[in-house]
């Protein structure tokens, strides 16, 4: 079916790009279970690196999962009502506010982390606590939750649905719980998966905010890349892939689903 030279060229570029992105991930997966990567697969396959990574870094992995869940709770509590309020009162002020909370998407994490350190770095209890990292993660993931929910709310005729509920005697908070939240669920789900995926993988902010006692998964990864043998670094990367890839696929599925509902 790909007869024309132009099509073949396009196919070649696509396959090359795929190879560029996929080959190192496969290498890393393979290296993580190979006895000696330098000698190649012929040296035999083993789980010993993965077990070693678990012994060294399981704390980081659990810290990241815990942080991601805490981050999810925060973005739900802050983001969902805010998305509703912004969707319900569209206007210059709402757009400006949305633009402002989206700044962490545009400004490099490094700059944000510096800003947080400048203001709160001197407050020792906070600086040393895991909540300091949590603040960074919420800052970075919140716009995704807000926008994901807002885009679903913008697609349904929220105003009329709410008027319908009001004419049936529902006060504001009941309208929010009975009408807004259930109808925004696809957006909330897509937003939630995005928040968890991004939080588990966040490095730029976290690297600046972490303490020697609070290393998240990506911080541990950087640590292993710098100081461990290639097999351990690869095994750790493999564990990370095993966590992040299903999340990413779920996130893409949920986002596509939310968009289908919107159209």
């Amino acid at each position: 079916m790909f007869k024309s030279p132009a099509k073949l060229f396009q196919l070649a570029i696509t396959l090359l790009a795929c190879a560029f992105l996929l080959i190192p991930t496969l290498q890393s997966a393979l290296a993580g279970v190979t006895v000696n990567y330098f000698r190649g697969v012929s040296s035999g396959l083993t789980f010993k690196w993965i077990i070693e990574v678990w012994a060294l870094y399981s704390g980081s992995i659990f810290l990241s999962i815990g942080l991601a869940l805490a981050c999810l709770v925060c973005t739900l509590i802050i983001g969902v009502p805010a998305a509703y309020a912004l969707a319900r009162n569209p206007g210059r002020l709402s757009r400006m506010l949305e633009e402002f909370i989206s700044l962490p998407l545009a400004i490099p994490g490094l700059a944000l982390a510096l800003a947080l350190l400048q203001l709160y770095g001197g407050w020792r209890e906070f600086r040393m606590s895991w909540t300091f990292i949590l603040v960074g993660h919420v800052l970075y993931t919140l716009p995704f939750m807000v926008r994901s929910v807002m885009s679903v709310l913008a697609a349904i005729d929220l105003k009329t649905l709410e008027e319908g509920a009001a004419s049936l005697g529902a006060p504001s908070h009941r309208r929010f719980l009975d009408i807004v939240v259930p109808n925004a669920l696809p957006g909330i789900l897509a937003g939630a998966l995005t928040v968890v995926t991004l939080s588990i993988g966040e490095f730029n902010l976290t690297w600046m905010l972490h303490t020697p006692f609070l290393k998240t998964l990506p911080v541990g990864l950087a640590d292993s890349y710098a100081s461990m043998r290639l097999e351990i670094a690869s095994a750790y990367t493999l564990i990370f892939f095993a966590m992040i890839v299903p999340l990413l696929l779920a996130m893409q599925w949920a986002t596509a689903r939310a968009q289908r509902i919107m159209s």
Binding site: K7, Q10, P24, P81, P108, A111
Partner: protein, 267 residues
């Protein structure tokens, strides 16, 4: 409680959080940049100090190269994937979007696996093919996470192009390469500008990849990091952060005005 009061109540948590952890810290950062020995002249100092402006220039050059390469590759692949249905298309699409969730450090490691001392290329080809720690390695790393971002933006726009436009051009006698030039690329232009701005801004601000590759090439985020941690030159780190933040923010604002895409500038 009126619905107006309720809406204001809904915004309250966001307002408190954003004020405390975004507005005030950013204000502090800007103030901090003016508290050094040069005062507000520090921004002029960036342009007068060869090390800083050379870094700025170098970061811009690498980012421009990455943007052009990512646009070329992703537009070609994206158009191909949108306009052809075949077995395995879904798999290719998944592979091409996978790195979206990879932190910059992992991308850096991927480049080490490709072009490091024990890297694939060095194993296959005779001689010393170690490029992971050079400017080319950095370029490849940035390209690695830019391809998916550009691809998604371009594909979203390509799917919205009315196939009738292309058919109309063909019925009018245009050969297929003219159709691409006259119909498809103009229709994709806004998305490509947006995707380019996203790729450029992401490359400008990327820290994790440069950090892992521990390259000899100075890029702006690495200089900010070393100013802050090694030299404890807080004012300069803050000033460079402000400059970097303003550049990426303005670029993404341009991107948004062209396509409304929401893709994080991480990496």
């Amino acid at each position: 409680m009126t619905s107006r009061t309720f809406a204001q109540l809904c915004l309250l948590p966001l307002a408190i959080f954003t004020l405390t952890f975004l507005a005030l810290p950013l204000a502090r950062l800007i103030l901090a940049s003016g508290e050094g020995e040069f005062g507000w002249g520090i921004y002029l100092k960036i342009l007068q100090t060869p090390r800083y402006y050379a870094t700025l220039l170098q970061t811009v050059i690498i980012s421009v190269a990455v943007t052009i390469a990512a646009l070329g590759i992703s537009t070609t692949a994206g158009l191909f994937l949108v306009r052809n249905r075949f077995m395995g298309r879904g798999v290719l699409l998944s592979i091409l979007t996978l790195p979206l969730a990879f932190p910059g450090v992992v991308v850096g490691f991927m480049i080490i696996l490709l072009g490091g001392r024990q890297g694939l290329v060095n194993q296959i080809l005779p001689g010393h093919w170690v490029f992971a720690y050079s400017a080319f390695g950095l370029f490849l790393g940035y390209l690695y996470f830019s391809i998916p971002r550009v691809l998604l933006t371009v594909m979203a726009a390509a799917e919205k192009i009315d196939p009738a436009l292309e058919e109309a051009a063909l019925t009018l006698g245009a050969p297929s390469h003219r159709v691409v030039l006259d119909v498809i690329l103009p229709a994709l232009a806004p998305a490509m500008i947006a995707a380019g701005a996203i790729a450029f801004a992401t490359a400008m601000g990327a820290f994790g990849t440069a950090f892992t590759l521990a390259t000899n090439i100075d890029v702006l985020p690495m200089v900010i990091y070393t100013e802050f941690t090694l030299s404890a030159n807080i004012a300069m780190a803050a000033a460079l952060s402000v400059v970097l933040g303003v550049i990426t923010w303005v670029l993404l604002l341009i991107a948004r005005s062209f396509s409304g895409a929401t893709i994080a500038a991480g990496g």
